[in-house]
Symmetry: none
Subunit: 237 residues, 2 copies
C-alpha cells in the first residue's frame, strides 16, 4: 500500500483529508507540525509528502527544503492559500513538485497525487483495453493500430465513462450530468461533438461499436472483450 505523509496544522481539515485519502486506498500519516512531519518522514519514507505551507514552528517550505536535502528525489506537494505571494507560487511551479491552492476539491487533490506518483514511477498507470486499443486515462493516451493519440481531457473523461459502462445503455442526460454537471441543449450538442471525435479515434477498430440509441443515448459495444456466440440482428427489416 502507498504511504502518504500529510503535514497540516488544521486538525479538522487534516482529519477529513486523512479519511478521504484513506478511502481512496492510501495509507496516510498525519502530522500537525513540521517537526512531527520530519520525524515521520525519516521513519516511514512516504511515497509522497503533502505539506501545508503555513505551519506554526517549522513552515512547510522549510520542511520541504530539509526533506529535499535528505532525499533529492522525494516528491512533494504543497498546500497553499490562494493569497500567497506570487513569487512563492512561481517558485513552487518551476520546481519539480506540484502545489494546490486552498480551498480545493479533495477530488482534485487525489488527481494530483496520483499524477505525481505516476510521474515518479510509484504508481502503475491504469490501462484499459478497448478491442485492440490500449487506453491510459491518466496519460490521456489512446494507442492501437500503429498510432498513438493524445486525447484532450474531456475526450478522455468521456471515453473512460463509456468504457466503465460498456454494454450498458447510457442516457445522454446521465453522461451530461456526470461529465458536465448539468444538462441543457448546448451541452447536448457538445456531447455530440465529442462522441463524433471518439468515433473517429476508434474507427480502425471494426470490433468496436459506439451505437446511437435515438432519443435515449449511446452504447459502447466491443466484440473482442465480450465475445458473445452470435445472434444480434438489427431491429428493422
Amino acid at each position: 500500500m502507498i504511504t502518504l505523509l500529510l503535514v497540516e496544522d488544521d486538525q479538522d481539515l487534516g482529519k477529513i483529508l486523512k479519511q478521504y485519502l484513506e478511502m481512496q486506498g492510501f495509507r496516510v500519516l498525519l502530522a500537525g507540525t513540521g517537526e512531527k512531519g520530519w520525524t515521520l518522514f525519516l521513519e516511514e519514507h512516504p511515497a509522497l509528502c503533502i505539506l501545508d505551507i503555513m505551519l506554526p514552528g517549522m513552515d512547510g517550505l522549510s520542511l520541504g527544503k530539509k526533506i529535499k536535502q535528505k532525499n533529492a528525489d522525494q516528491p512533494l506537494l504543497f498546500l497553499t492559500a490562494r493569497t500567497s505571494k506570487e513569487d512563492i507560487l512561481k517558485g513552487l511551479k518551476t520546481g519539480a513538485d506540484d502545489y494546490i491552492c486552498k480551498p480545493f476539491e479533495p477530488e482534485e487533490l487525489v488527481l494530483r497525487i496520483r499524477n505525481i506518483l505516476r510521474r515518479t514511477g510509484r504508481l502503475e498507470p491504469e490501462a484499459l483495453h478497448i478491442g485492440k486499443f490500449l487506453f491510459i486515462p491518466d496519460r490521456l493516451e489512446l494507442s492501437g493500430y500503429g498510432n498513438t493519440y493524445r486525447l484532450t481531457l474531456k475526450e478522455s473523461q468521456l471515453l473512460k465513462y463509456l468504457l466503465a459502462h460498456r454494454d450498458q445503455l447510457l442516457r445522454r442526460e446521465d453522461i451530461l450530468v456526470e461529465l458536465w454537471g448539468e444538462n441543457d441543449y448546448f451541452l447536448g450538442r457538445s456531447l455530440d461533438v465529442f462522441i463524433s471525435r471518439i468515433r473517429k479515434y476508434l474507427k480502425p477498430g471494426k470490433d468496436i461499436q459506439l451505437e446511437t440509441i435515438r432519443g435515449v443515448g449511446y452504447v459502447l459495444r466491443t466484440t473482442i472483450d465480450d465475445p458473445r456466440p452470435n445472434g444480434r440482428s438489427s431491429g428493422r427489416g
Copy 2:
C-alpha cells in the same frame, strides 16, 4: 431485490427512511452504529451503503473508508448536515459516490439512490417475459428464438404497456392517452402501425396472441404466463 445498507443513529429518521425506501421496492438493512453497519456490510454485500457522517463511535467517514478498503468499487452515499465544512464535504462526490445534505426530501434521496445504482450498473434492468421472449425495456431489447431486436423508444413503450396489462382488454383510447397524451384519428392510425410492428416481432411466439377486439381495442394473451423452465434462479449476481 436490491439491498441497501442504511447507517443512521437517529432512530426515528432511520425507521422512517427504511419504511420509505422499502415502499420504493428496496430491501433495507438499518444499522444504528458504525460497528453494526460494518457487520451488516460484510454479511450482506449491499448494492449501496447510505452512511450518516455524524455517528457515535465509528463515524460515517471512517466506516466509508473501511468499506472502500474492503471493496474499492462499493458505492457510497453520505448523509451530512449543512455545516461549516460544507465545501470540503462537497468533495465527497467522486466517481460512484454522492452525498446529500440534511434535511432532505425522501424523494430526492430516492432519486440519488437510483442514479448511483444506475451509474454503477447495480440496478438490475427490469426483465419481462412474454412467452419465450425476454424483453428489457431499459435497453429497448427484445430477444427470443435466436434473435435480439432493438426496438425504438415508442415500440418499447407500447410493448411495455401491453405487457403491464396482459390479459386485460385495453381500449384504443386508453393506449393513445397513455402513450401519446391524446386521442385523435391520425394517432389512431399511428397506433395501428405500431401494433403491426409488434406483431411482427412476436410472430415466432405461437403462444402469444395480440388480439384485436374490433371497435374497442386489444388484448395481449400468452399461454405460458410465468416461464420457469428450470426453477427461478436469478442469473445475475
